[in-house]
């Protein structure tokens, strides 16, 4: 640009303007404004070359193109559904994308209303009284649930029970977040892909603050013992936290009806493509925990003219006011993903969501049956209903099969030595027959 020195392409200063501003500030050189002792001055370079936009696009693209183009049948907590084009187009609008947290509600009514609508959808899906407007992901939301349970119970040295099917990584996050609060995380047993309620009954006691279960489970089974878990939790005055997602909740038992006190999960199953694990943490709970809720809440109010208006509310729970006594340290959350999720959900509507969910029951049923027809494969391993995914037993070593399948263009999970986990949704169902053929191929 004319009169603009080389530098940041996003700093708009012409040389003349820079000079006038330096003059106004009273220095000759911008370096004079840096009040940094010489001894800690950095006088080297990072060694990163400046590039044109075109070059920068090419550089990032070149790296990403090293990824193999595989058709993924992967799930285990991160899922893909077809995202309508409109989600991209609307969420990319400048006013949404480039805004900050809604500290000035009078000029951010649009985003506040979108978040209010997101919260409302989660309230409808869970049946619980309160949903916040996002956590990072399912793992951190679960951790926040445990901390909420601890606060609600106000107990020392307590335990949280999670079933064996939960991903190790999620448990690690849970432990990391709760260690500081002297919470111990314990696993309890499962039976044929569901919670083993006897094992849970044995493990549960009055020093437990939270028991967790999932529906569907990480290995894809529909959980059939939710009422019993809820009852067991009630018996011991323990909070019952259910892990689920908006698609599953649109079809499966409503969390509030099985006694869930908190619902966590990943809502980015609507709104985001596969994103290397980027998520949208659901956090919904009973209304009586309202003042203990972590994260941001949008509430309805009125403006000076008496018109309905939205605002962040109950902020005294939050770190920027309550500091070390806050209900959470969260500040930046996943608002824009929540916007995308809300758009996706609204574009499906009730019926679209239920239809999608029902397909998530039928597709794994069909694929499991097809795989069961392959010699040396037995599917599903557990005699359960499944949602999106299921385990398959393989006579041959599963890791080798998974590796061979990559060469054929498919990605599946190997879980242990003789189990594959296969996830099928609207995003990959078109390739399900080819997957079966490929598995047949590589196992013979």
């Amino acid at each position: 640009m004319s009169g603009r020195e080389r530098g940041s392409p996003y700093a708009p200063h012409t040389d003349d303007e820079t000079a006038a501003m330096l003059d106004a500030v009273g220095v000759d050189d911008v370096e004079a404004l840096f009040d940094i002792p010489e001894s800690v001055r950095f006088d080297d370079e990072f060694g990163i070359d400046a590039k044109s936009e075109q070059e920068a696009v090419v550089e990032t693209r070149k790296r990403l193109r090293r990824n193999d183009d595989l058709t993924e049948f992967l799930g285990r907590g991160h899922y893909e559904h077809y995202v309508p084009s409109l989600v991209d187009h609307l969420s990319q609008r400048s006013e949404f994308l480039t805004s900050y947290t809604q500290y000035q509600p009078e000029v951010t009514q649009g985003f506040l209303q979108a978040l209010f609508e997101y919260q409302s959808m989660l309230v409808e899906l869970t049946g619980l009284g309160v949903a916040n407007c996002s956590m990072y992901d399912e793992a951190t939301a679960l951790a926040e649930a445990a901390l909420l349970a601890k606060r609600v119970r106000a107990a020392d040295g307590v335990r949280v029970l999670v079933p064996e099917y939960v991903r190790d990584g999620h448990v690690s996050v849970l432990e990391n977040y709760t260690n500081g609060a002297d919470v111990t995380v314990e696993r309890y047993g499962t039976d044929a892909g569901n919670v083993d309620t006897d094992a849970l009954a044995d493990a549960i006691d009055d020093d437990v603050v939270l028991v967790y279960a999932e529906n569907p489970t990480t290995t894809g089974a529909v959980e059939e013992h939710l009422h019993e878990i809820g009852d067991l939790a009630d018996d011991h005055d323990v909070l019952f936290c259910l892990g689920s997602d908006p698609v599953a909740m649109s079809l499966l038992q409503r969390p509030v009806d099985v006694g869930a006190d908190v619902v966590v999960g990943d809502a980015s199953v609507l709104g985001l493509p596969t994103s290397y694990g980027m998520g949208l943490g659901v956090f919904a709970c009973r209304e009586d925990f309202l003042r203990q809720v972590p994260g941001r809440l949008v509430g309805a109010s009125e403006d000076a003219d008496g018109n309905r208006a939205y605002t962040l509310t109950l902020q005294t729970r939050e770190q920027h006011i309550r500091k070390e006594r806050a209900t959470s340290n969260i500040c930046t959350n996943q608002a824009w993903v929540a916007l995308r999720t809300a758009i996706h959900a609204a574009s499906l509507g009730s019926e679209g969501l239920v239809d999608l969910a029902e397909r998530m029951v039928e597709l794994p049923r069909e694929l499991a049956a097809d795989l069961d027809g392959v010699t040396g494969v037995r599917a599903p391993v557990h005699d359960r209903h499944h949602f999106r995914e299921f385990l398959a037993h393989t006579d041959q070593p599963a890791p080798a099969i998974a590796s061979d399948l990559e060469a054929e263009g498919f990605a599946v999970h190997a879980v242990g030595d003789h189990r594959l986990q296969v996830c099928v949704t609207d995003a990959n169902e078109h390739a399900a027959d080819r997957l079966v053929a490929a598995i047949e191929e590589v196992t013979h």
């Binding site: 950095f42 990163i48 900050y100 649109s250 038992q253 290397y276 109950l314 340290n329 500040c331 009730s350």
Partner: protein, 470 residues
């Protein structure tokens, strides 16, 4: 009837609540046994044209950086280059986190290269990309400090020292890690009071968390002395990266003696804040702490491939998967585009803009010299009212009433993306409001989508979903 997009009217307020438009109840029928399904679901059901209009309209009721200056101090709202959206949306970026390392060499290389870039920029030996936001980065840093002390047999250290002007997240993150917070008052010059620090440090000190330049925009000139004091006490020095945009190419946390730091990618590397996130909060550490980083970490092998591994004494995980990866791609692309020249210039112009604006503003601006932001005092005026009134002048106001060191604080950070003309206009808005009377301020704003919103009743009578509305 709802008013067209180009104009709001007073008497025909558009109230586009999805739920009020076309709510439908769906009876749930399924091939599953009845007892495993819910009975019904009641969500709005809009055809695509109405859906598009709904969100287009909502967007038009929202202010973003693309709408004008957004000088929220400590939030660093700068322009978000759109090409980074494009690369994050590439098909090749969309992979599952459980993919084999062999099959996602592209993603691993990008992770590795971003780790490398951030290490160079922060002067750190190793960087994890896993924390999904700045506060999550703080917490991860506290975890690392905890593991470090534990490994060194210093598990008794249970205090984190934090200056009073620090971000609220510092306190909350330390608390989340199980630490007691020792808050120290700032000195009269707005910087760390060395005596207070000395008094606070001791055998139980695990770390000092420090923002530099601090939230007043002041560089902690005694940083080396502070580092020595903390290290002598056996503690670690934690750098809050919120204000790193002020130092790019001029000073690096690692060189100042910091052991751990986080980066706020939206503040420093221009990823969009998206109305509240997603962010990303990579954490850098010195060599001594590298073995504790979360798993999986990414490294290059001798054959030029990239692999995931678990650092020897890893703290485990702080996010279910790999953090907010799509955001990190944008940060990489930004850094790669700007390079040394651009990053250094961004800091220069950010600091120049803040100092220039501070000169033009007629409110009292105590302390200084400033880097990327300054804190003016609204004096007799209520800073929150000042903010509302500034909205009437068409600009987004600064952060208000914080830090508390300055009465009725107006914490202002224009960033490098504003032109001189914009800054002059912004100063005009400040100065016009400074001349307004109390009644005018209290009745503001008058020209916004909504007028002053009743926060008290919102909190006293929480209505948090459609179900709570009449």
């Amino acid at each position: 009837y709802d008013q067209a997009a180009y104009r709001q009217t007073d008497d025909e307020q558009y109230e586009p609540l999805l739920a009020e438009k076309d709510e439908t109840t769906t009876e749930v029928e399924s091939s599953l046994p009845d007892e495993l399904t819910r009975d019904e679901l009641e969500l709005p059901s809009l055809a695509e044209p109405e859906l598009a209009r709904h969100y287009v309209r909502l967007s038009q009721q929202n202010y973003g950086v693309d709408s004008g200056p957004y000088p929220l101090g400590s939030c660093t709202m700068k322009y978000n280059p759109r090409f980074t959206e494009d690369v994050a949306a590439l098909d090749a970026a969309s992979v599952h986190p459980d993919r084999s390392a062999e099959s996602v060499q592209g993603t691993l290389k990008l992770q590795h290269d971003l780790q490398d870039y951030l290490g160079r920029i922060g002067g750190m030996d190793a960087v994890t990309l896993q924390p999904p936001a700045g506060a999550a980065g703080e917490f991860a840093g506290i975890l690392l400090a905890d593991a470090y002390h534990e490994a060194n047999g210093e598990g008794h250290r249970d205090e984190v020292v934090i200056p009073d002007a620090a971000h609220g997240t510092n306190f909350a993150s330390a608390a989340l890690g199980g630490y007691d917070v020792v808050e120290i008052p700032s000195g009269d010059d707005g910087r760390v009071d060395l005596d207070a620090l000395d008094a606070a440090l001791g055998e139980n000190t695990a770390a000092l968390m420090l923002t530099n330049p601090n939230t007043l925009g002041l560089f902690e000139r005694d940083i080396e002395r502070i580092a020595d004091m903390v290290h002598d006490a056996g503690g670690l020095l934690y750098y809050d990266g919120a204000n790193l945009n002020a130092l790019l190419g001029r000073a690096r946390p690692g060189d100042m003696g910091f052991d751990i730091m986080h980066f706020n990618v939206h503040k420093t590397f221009a990823t969009p804040h998206g109305g509240g996130g997603p962010g990303a909060g990579p954490v850098g550490v010195t060599e001594d702490l590298a073995d504790f980083l979360p798993e999986p970490h990414v490294r290059e092998t001798e054959s030029g491939k990239y692999e995931r591994y678990t650092p020897e004494q890893s703290v485990g995980k702080v996010h279910g998967f790999a953090g907010n990866w799509l955001v990190l791609i944008k940060a990489f692309a930004y850094i790669d585009r700007l390079g040394d020249d651009g990053l250094s210039d961004a800091s220069a112009k950010a600091v120049l803009n803040a100092n220039y604006l501070a000169e033009q503003v007629e409110y009292d601006v105590p302390l200084g010299p400033f880097h990327h932001e300054f804190v003016a005092s609204a004096g007799e005026q209520d800073a929150a009212d000042v903010a509302k009134r500034m909205l009437d002048y068409g600009v987004h106001p600064p952060t208000t009433k914080w830090p508390e060191l300055v009465d009725e604080a107006l914490m202002t950070e224009p960033t490098e993306v504003e032109t001189k003309e914009n800054l002059d206009d912004l100063a005009d808005a400040f100065n016009a409001v400074a001349a307004d009377d109390a009644a005018t301020l209290e009745s503001a704003p008058n020209r916004t989508t909504a007028r002053r919103i009743d926060q008290t009743s919102a909190a006293r009578n929480p209505r948090l979903s459609w179900h709570d509305l009449d």
